[in-house]
């Protein structure tokens, strides 16, 4: 694996952890716990997130990522984000990969 490829993998794993932490913050007392795995579905009918909860999750992830990496990242929710088929919000792992790509791109210009 190239040096840059390895870096993206490290970032992706860290971002995945930040997504789990953001999900923890959204868990409501007394309600069924939202599962935290790379395959956890974020968008669509089988998602445990209603639209408002998903908005809250995305903003919480964006803020955690910015705090962790120390710079403002470009908006996560772009035109692609709400299309169920190709959206980076399909699952925790696709979102982590998407954000890792943004971070790597911004770091390396």
């Amino acid at each position: 694996m190239s040096k840059k490829g390895g870096e993206v993998t490290d970032i992706r794993l860290r971002v995945q952890q930040l997504i789990y932490e953001a999900i923890d913050d959204l868990q409501e007392a007394g309600k069924e716990r939202i599962e935290k795995t790379p395959e956890t579905v974020l968008l669509g009918r089988s998602s445990a997130f209603d639209s408002l909860k998903l908005v809250n999750l995305i903003v919480a992830v964006e803020q955690r990522v910015e705090e962790e990496f120390g710079f403002a990242i470009s908006a996560i929710a772009n035109e692609k984000a709400m299309s169920e088929k190709s959206s980076p919000l399909r699952s925790v792992s696709t979102l982590a990969e998407f954000i890792a790509g943004i971070i790597s791109e911004q770091r390396h210009g």
Partner: protein, 236 residues
Amino acid sequence: MVNSAGIMLITGTRKGIGRYLVEHYVKKGNRVIGCSRQPTDLKLDGYEHFCLDVADEPRVKEVFFEIRKKYGHLDVLINNAGIASMNHILLTPVSTVTSIFNTNVIGTFIFCREAAKIMKKTGGRIVNFSTAATPLRLEGEAIYAASKAAVVSLTEILARELADFKITVNAVGPSPLKTDLTRGVPQDKMDRLINRQAIRRFAEFRDVSNVIDFFLKPESDFITGQIVYLGGITGS
């Protein structure tokens, strides 16, 4: 907001009404953050200034990141930055349209979005700027009025989208003020314009801050999606 000192962000603060609002709210004990494209000579305890173009998304996000790191919250956003260009549509280049919409609509949108991300935990108040030119359908101001009509729609819809976060979104629509925006308008045109108001005088800066003060009062937490025009002009 905002019983006592709050953190406020005001755009377009180098001169005119924006500068007045900085002085007004610093005097009330708030911590005010302002911005403009050019540096400011305004130095006040309780005021800090960023140089940016409000439509420059990456730069605006950087500034919000700084605000979040430094203060952790934001109570008030006042989207004052705006530009106008008065011309007949047959003589209006697309570059003017782009420039006006970038500042007035896209700038307002980016600031609302980024402010709401910070405000959503604790609630907040957003005040946008419309203009009397929109309900008066002023000839020669098609693009400016259209851009502010977009701000009206943005305000009304964001009021609904952000209500669950206890963020109110309102707008003030000044009638003519003596600022850079109206300096180039011929006197007879200004007179005709003012004669269409119920109360026939130029607006003062204090008329604008009075409406904003109302939107920011703690008791105004049930006031959202409202556009308040000055001088007796009514929206439609």
